[in-house]
């Protein structure tokens, strides 16, 4: 036995992988993801049944339609498609968005909106425009992870308002606003339709109340509406922006066309839009003209409507498969939402369950989900999970839910043993 190369070792060296690590801006310290969760969520095993990602079923978008759109775009407007464009987006694209918004009940002009690189860029631009370190931002709890990421980089104090089956709880929002006072927050962020991750939709009554509170406390509402047109049942509820011109609205082509184009938009009061545009110029000068011209062509005629119907029907079938499987297999202690559209079901397990500790076993059984705590800025929601039904075939959904139920049941048995022994606290009666 000997040390290899011992004679070569000349003193101890600190091993450094990232020699710039001490030079990054402070604001990045708040932006961290859970390594374990990321790893499992991204589990790339081909046999995995994934309920993790909210990925649209782009295979239902006819490749020939997109090819034709891109072909025509190049043939007829090639010079423009390949060139820089205006920062607020092509007038033709904005006119298309105006039409799409009118179909949802929102009347605005092409000057009331800008084209963004997906709604996600809109979130980042808004955060950069509005948030100073320590500023309060109000969001739903749980809320969209991407919004938390976009906001966190600007170091806000995010206050979360719980949801129920009618969306954000207005009584709790009002209580928070009372504490904060007028202009006590920079904005109120909501996903009113088929919320990510909650799956619930804000009722018309609550929408009216939200806008009243927004006016009373002089705090703008940011309405993020990626799933609004993916309704499977029930009547259309008008967007907040249809009821109040001061609402900042984020829309996207990702779910009605495809996320690969990275096209979205933001409608906002013009003074705000002017500021956001300055910020956007610094970020990217302008969006992709090629994507915009292609989208304009894709939305000419009526074929896209049939495709959107097919997509919606596909998601509806998958939602049905997931709800049926949950009813059949999940334990009595579990509660879950019944979304009327969108991509997600939110499951709540008894308060003592940590879904993060379930994930490893689930992955071993070939099924993944996203643990609930990632959807809160403060790590609450540990006993919850988000299940995306948008991407797996119905039979696979049934099988995945069956496997997941087994894993949960096994865990519950273990928890019960600990509770019986008094080693952990039992939930209060009526809780869970």
């Amino acid at each position: 036995m000997c040390f290899v190369g011992k004679e070569m070792a000349m003193g101890t060296a600190r091993v450094v992988f990232d020699r710039w690590s001490d030079r990054y801006a402070d604001r990045l310290s708040g932006v961290r993801s859970s390594a374990v969760r990321d790893l499992f969520a991204a589990a790339s095993r081909p046999d995995m049944i994934s309920f993790s990602g909210g990925m649209p079923e782009v295979s239902r978008v006819p490749a020939t339609d997109v090819a034709t759109a891109a072909h025509d775009a190049m043939l007829h407007e090639g010079a423009c498609a390949l060139q820089y464009g205006s920062s607020n987006g092509r007038p033709e694209t904005r006119a298309l968005i105006v039409e799409l918004m009118a179909e949802s009940g929102v009347r605005l002009s092409a000057d009331d909106l800008i084209v963004t690189a997906g709604a996600q860029q809109g979130l980042d631009l808004l955060a950069k425009t509005f948030i100073n370190p320590g500023d309060v931002v109000i969001a739903e709890g749980p809320t969209y992870v991407g919004a938390l990421q976009a906001f966190s980089a600007y170091q806000p104090d995010i206050r979360c308002i719980p949801l129920d089956s009618d969306g954000m709880r207005m009584d709790l929002l009002e209580a928070e606003l009372k504490r904060l006072g007028p202009r006590g927050a920079k904005f109120i962020y909501t996903i009113p339709n088929f919320q990510n991750p909650g799956g619930v939709t804000m009722s018309a009554e609550r929408r009216r109340r939200l806008l009243e509170l927004s006016r009373e406390y002089d705090i703008p509402v940011v309405e993020d509406d990626p799933y609004g047109r993916l309704r499977f049942e029930g009547g259309h509820v008008k967007p907040l922006r249809a009821l109040d011109d001061d609402v900042i609205y984020l829309g996207t082509f990702s779910k009605i066309f495809a996320p690969g184009l990275r096209l979205g938009w933001m409608a906002a009061p013009r003074p705000i839009l002017a500021k956001v545009l300055l910020v956007k110029q610094a970020a990217d000068l302008c969006g992709s003209n090629f994507a915009q011209v292609t989208a304009e062509r894709y939305f000419m005629g009526a074929r896209w409507r049939r495709t959107l119907q097919t997509l919606t029907k596909t998601y509806a079938e998958r939602r049905d498969a997931m709800l049926a499987a949950l009813d059949e297999h999940f334990p009595a202690e579990a509660r879950w939402t019944r979304p009327e559209g969108g991509f997600f079901v939110w499951v709540e397990l008894p308060s003592f369950v940590d879904t993060g500790a379930l994930l490893a076993e689930a992955v071993e059984h070939g099924v993944t989900f996203v643990p609930g705590d990632g959807f809160f800025p403060d790590g609450s929601g540990k006993n919850c999970m988000r299940l995306a039904f948008c991407y797996a075939e119905p039979e696979r959904i049934g099988e995945g839910i069956r496997r997941l139920a087994e894993v949960i049941e096994d865990r519950l048995e273990l928890y019960r043993a600990f509770i019986a022994a008094g080693a952990i606290e039992a939930p209060e009666e009526g809780a869970a």
């Binding site: 290899v4 070792a9 101890t12 990232d18 095993r45 928890y415 043993a417 022994a421």
Partner: protein, 315 residues
């Protein structure tokens, strides 16, 4: 003619992504060293592929269950393909931290006091009613709680007081059906890589691990900047000798071969306490073994070539 080497990676374990990263680096190094490399993700087609490709040897770049627990080793024995790392028995022993600790303790190698409980002991036999005995058994708090059979410190937790024990055990039981509770030894954490087997083992310079959070858990391992590493470790010369001796004895006791990484804590008195032995150490950009090799003046390619040549010699 150059040897054909099947590099086995990925698979179904929780460390799949880490293994894919290790495997890719091993493939690149073997190819650069002139071997004919066959990169194989371990899926249901593995046996058919191995039978048609007939590699001269297999490089096991798998981590975790099935790759380190004897499963793949047994399969390769059956197929008659020589492979890197230890055989079936050694893999199975080393994979189980509880079994490893029993062997260490019985053979005079220091390992922190511990106890092991299985999920069935909780579910079927009421083990959760005896958690008050833990402090006495292991010599007081704080304690380390970890799954018995799992890699990359998944499910690892430091518990300061009895109130937090149950939750930590439940968390660890999310990663295995058996949980180890071990006395927390304060000191310097070292990873000591050993190459070779039998009478010709070489010990690489120990890597000192200084996680900024105090706990070298999964995120401290794989998120850059969360841990400081020092090579060789900042411990006195006399301690280094003891560390090398203990690493070597552990490697031999567990019948490791080609390569292993012995993880230990050196306490304030310079006494090494072995925590576990890894038979398929990580080979990623930020892994400990490649770090140690570099400090010894060996390139990554040198290590990989040496390991595969050892395996080829067993044909």
């Amino acid at each position: 003619m150059s040897h054909k080497i099947a590099v086995l990676m990925g698979g179904r374990s929780l460390e799949r992504e880490v293994s894919l990263a290790s495997g890719k680096r091993v493939c690149d190094a073997l190819a650069a060293a002139g071997y004919y490399v066959l990169a194989l993700d371990v899926t249901a087609d593995l046996v058919a592929t191995l039978r048609s490709e007939r590699p001269d040897a297999a490089y096991i770049a798998l981590h975790g269950k099935y790759g380190e627990d004897g499963t793949i080793q047994e399969l390769l024995e059956f197929l008659g393909i020589p492979y890197t790392g230890p055989g079936v028995v050694s893999s199975a022993l080393s994979w189980d931290k509880s079994v490893t600790k029993h062997l260490l303790a019985e053979n005079g190698i220091d390992t922190p006091a511990w106890l092991t409980l299985t999920a069935d002991a909780f579910k079927e036999m009421g083990a959760a009613t005896a958690l008050d005995l833990v402090a006495e058994r292991v010599g007081g708090y704080p304690v380390a709680v970890k799954p018995s059979r799992q890699g990359s410190a998944l499910g690892l937790c430091r518990v300061e007081a009895p109130e937090a024990l149950a939750e930590a055990m439940l968390d660890a039981l999310g990663y295995d059906t058996s949980v180890v509770v071990e006395r927390w030894v304060e000191g310097t954490e070292l990873a000591v890589s050993v190459l070779g087997d039998g009478g010709c083992t070489d010990v690489l310079p120990p890597v000192e691990i200084a996680p900024k959070s105090g706990l070298y858990d999964f995120s401290a391992r794989y998120a850059e900047g969360e841990t400081d590493f020092f090579v060789p470790a900042r411990v006195p010369e006399a301690t280094l000798e003891r560390v090398a001796d203990v690493a070597c004895r552990t490697h031999e006791l567990l019948r490791c071969r080609d390569v292993s990484r012995v993880d230990m804590i050196v306490d304030a008195n310079g006494r090494p306490w072995v925590l576990e032995c890894n038979t398929s150490p990580g080979m990623t950009e930020t892994s400990l073994l490649p770090m140690a090799a570099e400090a010894a003046g060996m390139s990554f390619q040198d290590v990989v070539s040496r390991v595969i040549e050892d395996a080829l010699a067993r044909r």
